[in-house]
Structure formats: structure tokens, C-alpha cells
Subunit: 244 residues, 6 copies
């Protein structure tokens, strides 16, 4: 029995609010249970130094991640001296996941930075950042419509992500923080809307896992990401950037 | 004529949402026009090292301030290498302003950190942080009720703050960002609910000001802070920590 | 009664020594009682990056502030890891104050850095830095005479500063360190030689203050800055950069 | 056809030299093709601060990773200002992988740090660090023999790791750097000697992958890690810490 | 012929002003030609952590060195991010030189920090720091008189230092900055008042030197340090801490 | 009697292995007794910013030094936050010593960085770095043969270095760590193959030394460096860059 009564393969209630603020080109507040993250996408008409001299001009998509101090109890210290290993790992994951579905050449010589700031943390913040960050990114690209060549197809696919874990021998989808702490295995799966894998991160500090456990996890993850993709499509409505 | 049609002595619409998140002991979303700030207050049962050996044990209230990258256009860089001078100045101001109305001895040997994170910036973020931060602080102290001695009076007064400026020769209250950029003088006034001054910061990089200008600014500030105090009292209702 | 027998509105003895060293273009040793500060002004024929592409080329004036370790008891730690909030606040204040009286366009595309290093600290170091820094700045601009267009008027006004405080209910001018520690209110006022306000910083962590207290402080500050302006004019003699 | 003529499921030649230096308690030089890494394990009779107050005293195993500047062309910059995201990710991975097979309580209140320094880099440095680091760790634990309780079983299993990739549609084991750069998918698999999974990290920035691709990768990885486990056992001989 | 007409073995005019400020326990302004350095010695009743658990309690003497920004043209950047290699080298040299003549056990469990801040730089700043720092240190120890056991002899000897160089084939004593830039060899010699060597630092980036050059340099250095020792003794008068 | 039975003027066994790795242009493993250092020399076709605008284009040679954590007991902490004073001093010494024998103009507009990483430390690491670094530098220059003008003579001389100390009143050559800790005087001498001095660093924190001691040290150092030069020449064989 899970703490909130969910089935092993059941997601927490997800809510997605687009245009949460109006300064950034894309701005999405995504909630998964008590986890709440503000994802903004900002456009800059320039690319990193290492991209400036390429023969074919091409854009860049990157991500940053942070937790507001009040998002956890006890209070999380601001990372002002040095970015911690966990933060660095998460923001690299988000960036790679978003780039996996973007045609950077079609984006043209500009950078979009997706910032994922956790307002409240209750497990699954990195995966919710990817799911919400994709929507903010779509809105930011939509804001460029006049600037992109007619017919430019920036998105090759959509992307969403979910966490899983093995708790007391049971594979469960979308762990909250109390389950996460008790889990023997911690898996994050990033997949495209078309059902292909983009990133896998599984870790078993406490109890290693068998090939069979892996198969179970993938089955749950595939169903979970399909649900999230449907929610992304609903949220974006006519802005959904892919053929249906 | 002001950009949004306000009178010179008129505040922007203010909204205050308590318990915006449920992790921190106090959590307030305050909006002043398009400016939107999440103020959380977290309690830690310890005091800074320099306070541990005092004869009379006494608590501490401190503040931190940050702007989310997506809160401005262009995107604000995260302060991860070194805290900038402006940020440091603002968070010191917020901390001093809140401490000015708190009886630290009554708080007991604990630290409350008020984090003010700007979700959207349109001028007046430091003053809104003080006005909203006070409410989060009251909620955090209320959460300690069982732990404080009966009859402990932690608050000696309430505190709120407002910005002013001289734009095209006219003294105006509560500037938005477009006015702030055009202002010759930039003044921040922090006052108690009882109408006394706590902090003054006036700066005139472009055009110095006369004693008469100053008098005008104080008159407007006093009226503005009185309005804000009334809004704080409404928001807190029965939790208002002072005699009426 | 003040510790050194002064009247409430009396400045400490001020001494100003120009050309204290001969390496920097301007070099002034200013003393106010036991407080002693070396202000040097160095010229660089370049401007900060953010100024290089402006349509109208224009110069820059900036300031840095530091305390020598032996300037206080106990010894002050060198700020080698990270510049502290107090230092950052002070050097921003000095820079803004000096820029308020300078016509940056008339200065041409060069940067003058005014360094204020405290050799001995006994209260009022930030205000003495402004008063002395102005003289070093005038000397540095004078050293450019051949390089500036004939008739260029770099200075629009002079600038000086003084501290005040409320000690045991009495408003006092130019506090030394022992008074500063006992003060309920701490106010710094920066004014031009023509009697207009440039910066105000008032803080009352211990005991808030009324509008009437403010009026008293302004009256004392205006008289104090007028005295300091006369001393600056004496020190500069024929180099005084303004019409008399 | 692979650059060096290997079959898709073939490891590069592996060499393992124990006691390469004699200062650290464990010291192993592992080579996989041209990749060459010095893994040392140092023992300290203390544990991190957050472990000191646990009810049951327990030890700690951690890892650090670095690349010597001359290990690559062009020269790799030393990470002296801030540890980069990639380095931080790798050393966290090595630490978790080693801890997954260690009974920290049996180790007692001491810390073993495994340092993996890359003398020459040609792909697969993080996985070779785990495979070689395990041997250094075994040697370090062996050096403690007198200090551990009789019969203490510090190791629950052995651990080794291998990289895989999809290059031109073919799943290949143990990529060298030239293959790694051309790969669409990059997978690192950490497994125990008993054939269970400890860590999975798969990333597909260029081309997402199907569930079937995944199955192929796991099959190759399982065979590769089995080979590496046999080599570890040979290298350790009588010091192999597990029942056979 | 030297730029200022001195003989090859002639020191620049030296002036020593004790009690230049009154905050630190020792405070000496030393000038050698245009070079001017403020040396202060501050006492703290504590020792560094690595000294706290020694069987025989013993004190510590350490040094810090800095150049004020206005001490050179062009302006020297403040070392606020990271202490540069040159600064670190110099302050380690000063510290070792002073400790070489101090009986740390006789000093008792306290730390004296000698800060050498260069007000104006014209060559020879590190050696003048040692010569002046010794006097500040003597004054600081004298201020402890009541706190030290009767008859405690803190100083075993005196210490002073001088620079030399080979310019156009000639060995010269006490180079100013213009000679220093032209020198092929740069040598710093630290000696005791009794004529023994404490530190030697010779460097020949441009033109290596022979054993015979070395002998010449030592002869000049010995005479120069003897002169400096006499000046130290004059400056200290009755405070000279050694038998005569 | 020395710990390993050597005579006072006897070097430890030296071994030199060229082409230890094949990534860097020069790669030398040098051992002196238990001390073992990997010296690599990497070429970059660019020069530091301050060299780019010189009238005569000229190259640069620089050095970095580091100790692997496992090179000592207890483990040496990685210098990831800030480079320590000792490291900075050593790498500056190595760089100056190598540049002293190089004609930077003949090298052309490129930078060679010599990295000296200590795999095992047992005294004398800075001097062995110079001796080994010279060989790596020769190999790196040799790799440029096609790129340099015909007949270019990059090396004016060879360079090697040795440490000495005074232990129990006896001057000894090439101290190991146990002797180094017991030494009253610590001297490092860098000389050319032609017998001229390049760098001298002598330090006597414990016990000052006389002119006669100095003479003894120089005699031993000269003989020691002559031996090292012969070993360098043997190792380089036909690549020896100087006339014989």
C-alpha cells in the first residue's frame, strides 16, 4: 500500500499552468502531487563561444536547475559558492533531454535557456522539470515564429520523463519523497512522445537489481510517459509542435 | 501621466497569498502590479556561531534575496559564483528591517530565515520583499506557538516598505521598472505600522535633490506604508501579532 | 557629553594631505579624528566592456574600498576569498556619490578608479572616503589637462559626506566608533557643495525614529557638509574645479 | 568494422598492475587499450561529519576522479577553480558503485577514498575507474586486516563496469574515443560479479533508441562485465574477498 | 652609472617611523627611496588549529602582504578572487624570515600577524617588508610585557633583508624598479643581525650566473644588511630586544 | 649515517623513462629513489593574451605542478578550491627554470605547458620535476621539427636541479622526505648543463647558516647537477639539443 493510496503504476495528480509569468518567452508551472516547479524558457540572440565559428550556424538549448531554499524542510542552502554535484548532474540531464528532440540547426543562431526552479520539493523534481520544461521550450520557440524561416520544424519529437523505484520489492511509478527515501533502486527514464528512449539513469546504492526487475521498470515507465505526453499535448493544444 | 494611468501617490494593485506552499513555516506570494515574489520563512533550532556564547540566549532573524533567471528580460544570470553587490545590499536591508520589529530575546535560541525569491520583476522588489517577508515571518512565529513561553511577545511593531522616485520633476510612489529607469532619484522607505522610520535609502546618481523634494517624498511614503500596513493586517486577520 | 568633549554638531578635527604618494594621479590622505584613509585616483585609458559600444563615447568613475588588517583591533581579516556585503555596499556608495557630480561624457573614454584604503578606523570611514576621494578625483582629472578638450568641464558640483547618529536620544554629528556602537540610528548623508542631496542611508536596527528626528539630522548634516566643502576648497586651492 | 579490428562484443586488451606505488594502501594501474588510470585507495581513521553521531558507527567509501592535463590532446585544463559537471558526475558514480558492494558497518568508523587519476584517456575512463578502483579498495581493506574484527566480511559482492554504444546502427562494447565521438547512444553499465545491476546510465543526445536496442546492450554488457570480473579475480588471486 | 647616482654598494635612503598608527600593537612605516610600506603587527590570544593540541604550548608568527591598488602605475588590481602566486610567495617568505629569529615557545600560546601593505612600490618591497616587519613585531612583543613570564627572551636574533641584482654585468645593491626590470639576476638575501643567512632567493630568467657572481652578491648583501641592522637598532632604541 | 646508507654527496638512484604515455608531445616518468613524477609537455599553437601584441612574435613555456592524492600518507587533498601557496611557488620555479634555457623567439608563437604530476612523493619533487620536465620539453620541441624554421636553435643550454640540506650539522645532497623533515636548512639549486646558476632557494626556518655552510652546499650541488646532466644526455641520446 502506497502512502497516498495510489496503485503501483499510478501517477500523482499532474497540473500544468502555461504563461504563469509573462516576462520569459515560455513560463510553465508544473505540479506533480506536492512537487511544484516553475519552468521558464528565455531566448537570447547569441550562441556560446564554442558554437560561433561553426560552418553551419546552429542554435543551442541548455538548462539550469535550482531549489528555492523554502522548498524543503529543513531549508535548503542556496548554492552560491559552488554548484553542487547533484544540481550539476540534474541540469545536464535536463539539457541533454531537451536537445534530444530539437533540431538545433532549424532553431538558428540563438540560445534558449530553460530554468527549472523548484518551489516545493516532494520527489521527482528532475523528471517533472523535463516534462514541464518541454512545454516552456515549445512556447519559447512559438514566440520566435516571425524570426524563423517559414516551415522550419524545430521539434523532431516531444519529450517527457518519469521516476520509478523498487520499494519493499515492488516496482512503483512516480515516487514521492517518503517513498524515494525508502527505495532500494532509483530509476529515471526520459522518453520521446513516440515511445523511444532518450536517457536512463538507474542507481542501486542499497540493493542491486536483476534483469527481470529492469524489464518491469521499463514497462511501467513506458505507460507513465505515454500519459504525460497526453497531458503535454492537452496543455499545448494548438501549439503542439508535431504532426498528429 | 504615469504609464499605467496611476496618480502620483497611488500604489499598484497589491495581492497577498498566504500558505502558497506548505513546506516552509511561512510562505507568502506577494504581488505588486507585475512584480511577484515568493517569501518563505524557515525555522532552524540553532543560532549563528557568534550568538552561541551570549549570556542571555537570544534568537536571530536573517534574510536572503534572489531573482529567478526568468524573472527579467533579458534573463538574469544565477549568482552562483559570487553574490553580487546589489543582492548583498538588498538582503542585508531586508534582514535589518525585519529585525527592527522583532524582540530577538523573546524568540528564543532559534533562527528564522526569510527567503525572498523574485518570480517576476517589475520594480520595487526589495520593498515588496519586506512587506511580504513580514507576513511570512509572522506565520513562522505563529507555527512556534507551543515552543515559546506563554505570553511571549515576539513582535514590537509591524514593518512594511515602499519605493518612490522623482520622474520628470514629479515625486511618484511605487515605481514600476519603466519609471524606475527614468527616475532621477530613487528612494526606498521602510517604516513601522506605528508610523516610525526604520530604513531610508535615497540615491540620486543623475540629478541631486533638494530638502523640499525630500519632504514631499516622506509625505507620500508615509501614506503608502499606512496602506500597506492595512493590507498586511487584512491578510493576517486573527494572526495579526499586535494589539489593535 | 560626548567622549571627546565635542558639541553635538561639531566635527572631529579634519586634516587633508594631497600628493601623499606620487604614483597615482591623485593621492590624498584624509584624517577625521583617529580615522585615517588613503584615497588614490588612478586613470586608465579604457572603459568597461558595457560602455564600449555606446553611440556617444563616455567615461566611467568607480571606487573600491578596503580596510587594512591593522586598522582595527581585533585585526580585520583581508577580504581575499569573497568581498563582504558591507564592503560591497560601501564601495558602491562611494562610486555613485562621485559620479553624481561628474559629467562622464566630458571625461572622455577613460576610467578613473578611486581606491579608499583605511589605514586606521575609528568610525565614519565611508563618509571620509567620499570627502577625500573627491579631492583625489579632482587631482586625477587635473593630471589629464592636456588630454581633455579645451574648456571641458568635468565637474558639475563638488561632493562631501558626513555621518550622524542618535545616541541617548541626542542627534550627533560625525560619530567616532565608540559612539557609533551605542547609537540607535545610523545615518550617512552625501551632499553637493551647492547644498543638494545625493545619497541618504539611514538605518535603525535598534530603535526606529520619527519624522522630527529626521529633520534634526538633516539640519546638522547640511551644516557639517558645508564645513567639509570649505575644507575641500582650501585643500584644492587653485585646483578647485568649480566657479566660485 | 571497428577502428582496431575488434568484434562488436570484444573488449580491448586489459592490463591490471597492483601495488603500482607503495604509498597508498591500495594502488592499481589499470589499462584498457590506450586508456590508462592510476587508482589509489587511502584509509583515514575518521568519518565525515554527518556520520559521526550515528547510533551504529559505520564507515564510508568515497571516490574522486581527475584527468591529468597531458592525458588528452589538446591538453586538459586542471580543474582548480571549480570542479566541472562531468567530473562531479563521474566521481559520484564511482563512489556509489563501490559502496554498493561494501558493508559499511563492517568497515568500522573509517573512510576509504579511492582516487582515480587518468594518465591517458582514450574512452571508457569512468568504467575502467570502477573496475580498477574495486581492486585498489580490496587491497586497502586487506591492509586493515589487524584492525577489523575477526571474520568481518566487508565485501558483499565484487563490482565492475563497461561502456557500450550504438555506432552506425551497431551495438558495440567498450568504445574507444574515436568510436565514442561517433556514437548515437552512450551507455555505461555497472554490475556485480554475481550478475546483478548496480548503475545504468544511458544517454542519446543524437538519436533515441528503442526497447530492442536496450535489450541488445544489456546482453553485451553482461558478457563484458563477466570477463572483467574474471580478470579482477585473477589479479587479486588469494586476496579475492568473496567465497568462490 | 645608476639612475639616481648611487654607488653599486649603496642603499637608498631609509626612513623608519614607529607608531605610525595606534590601533595595532606594532605599526611601522618604512621607506626605502620611493618604496613605502606600512607594517603592522597584531596580537591574537589564540593559535592556529594545528597548534592547539601540541604537548608544549607554543605561539605562532605569520605574515600577510598586499599592494594597495594606487601603489603602482598602472593601478594594481586588488587580489579579491584568489591570492596570486607572487603574493603568496612573498608572504610565506616574510613569515619564515620573522619566525627564524623568534622563540615561539617563549611567545606563549598567541599569534602575531605582521601585515605588510605597500603604499607605494618602487622595487624591494619584499625585503623592506621584512626589515620593517621585524620592528613592528618587536613593538608588538613589547606590548605583551605584562603577559609574558619574567625574563622571557622571545627574540634569538634580529632579522633584515636586502635585494641585489646584476645589471649590465654589474652587481648592485637595493635595486629600484627601473633597475629591477633591467636586471639579469634578481637576488633577495635575508640575514640575521649576527651575520648569518636565513633565506636566499636568486633567480636568473634572462642570464644565468657564475659562482664568482654569487660571491660578489653575498659580499654586498652582508654589508647592506649590517647597515639595515644598525638602522633597526637606532629606531628601536631602548626597545632593542637583544643584548648589545 | 643516512637512512638509506648513502654518502653525503650521493644521489638516489635515478631512472628516466621517455614516452611513458603517447598522448602528450613529451612524456617522461622520472624517479629519484621512491619519488616518482610524470612530466608531460603539451604544445598549443597560441600564446597568452599579454604576448599577442608584441612587435616580435615570441613563444611561451610554462609549468604546472600537482600531487596526486595517493602520492602521500596521509592522503593529499586535491587543490580544487584554490591553488595553495606551496604549489604556486613550485610551479613558478619550474616555469622560470625551463624558460632560462629556451630562446622563446626561436620557439615561435606557441605555448608549451610542462605538467609535473607527482605519483609518489618522497622528497625532492620540485627538483626532479625540473630535471624530468626538461627532457619532456626537449621531446615536445622535437615534435615540432617540421614547423620550426630550418636551423632554429630553441635551446641555449640544458637545465637540471637538486636539493640539499643541513642535517645534524652535515651538508647532504638529495634529501629524502625523512631527512628533509629533520633538516635545519633546505636548499634547492637549479643549474645549467654548462655549470651556471639559474635559481637558488635556501631557507632556514630552524637554524640559520654561515657563509662557509653555503660554500659547501654549492660544491655538492655543482657535482650533483653535473651527474644529472649526464643522465639527461644519456636519456635523450640523439635528441640531445645542444652541441657536444
Amino acid at each position: 500500500m502506497r502512502p497516498d493510496g495510489r496503485l503501483a503504476n499510478e501517477l500523482r495528480p499532474i497540473s500544468i499552468e502555461r504563461r504563469y509569468t509573462d516576462s520569459a518567452a515560455g513560463s510553465v508551472l508544473i505540479a506533480a502531487g506536492r512537487t511544484r516547479i516553475l519552468c521558464t524558457a528565455s531566448v537570447e540572440e547569441a550562441v556560446p563561444a564554442w558554437k560561433t565559428n561553426l560552418a553551419v550556424p546552429s542554435g543551442w538549448v541548455t538548462a539550469e536547475y535550482g531549489m528555492l531554499p523554502g522548498s524543503t524542510v529543513p531549508r535548503a542552502r542556496r548554492e552560491r559558492g559552488q554548484v553542487g554535484g547533484r544540481t550539476s548532474e540534474i541540469q545536464r540531464l535536463i539539457g541533454r533531454s531537451l536537445r534530444a528532440v530539437v533540431d538545433l540547426a532549424a532553431l538558428g543562431p540563438r540560445t534558449i535557456t530553460v530554468d527549472c526552479d523548484v518551489l516545493q520539493a516532494d520527489g521527482g523534481t528532475r523528471t517533472a522539470s523535463i516534462t514541464g520544461g518541454f512545454i516552456a521550450l515549445v512556447d519559447a520557440v512559438a514566440s520566435l515564429r516571425g524570426a524563423l524561416p517559414a516551415g522550419a520544424r524545430v521539434f523532431r519529437d516531444s519529450v517527457a520523463a518519469i521516476s520509478l523505484g523498487v520499494v519493499q520489492g515492488e516496482v512503483r511509478l512516480d515516487l514521492d519523497y517518503s517513498e524515494d527515501r525508502a527505495a532500494d533502486v532509483d530509476m529515471n527514464v526520459v522518453m520521446t512522445g513516440s515511445g523511444r528512449y532518450v536517457e536512463l539513469q538507474g542507481t542501486a546504492e542499497r540493493q542491486s537489481f536483476s534483469r527481470a526487475d529492469l524489464e518491469n521498470q521499463f514497462a511501467l515507465a513506458e505507460a507513465g510517459v505515454a500519459e504525460l505526453t497526453a497531458l503535454q499535448r492537452d496543455a499545448l493544444g494548438d501549439e503542439w509542435p508535431l504532426e498528429s
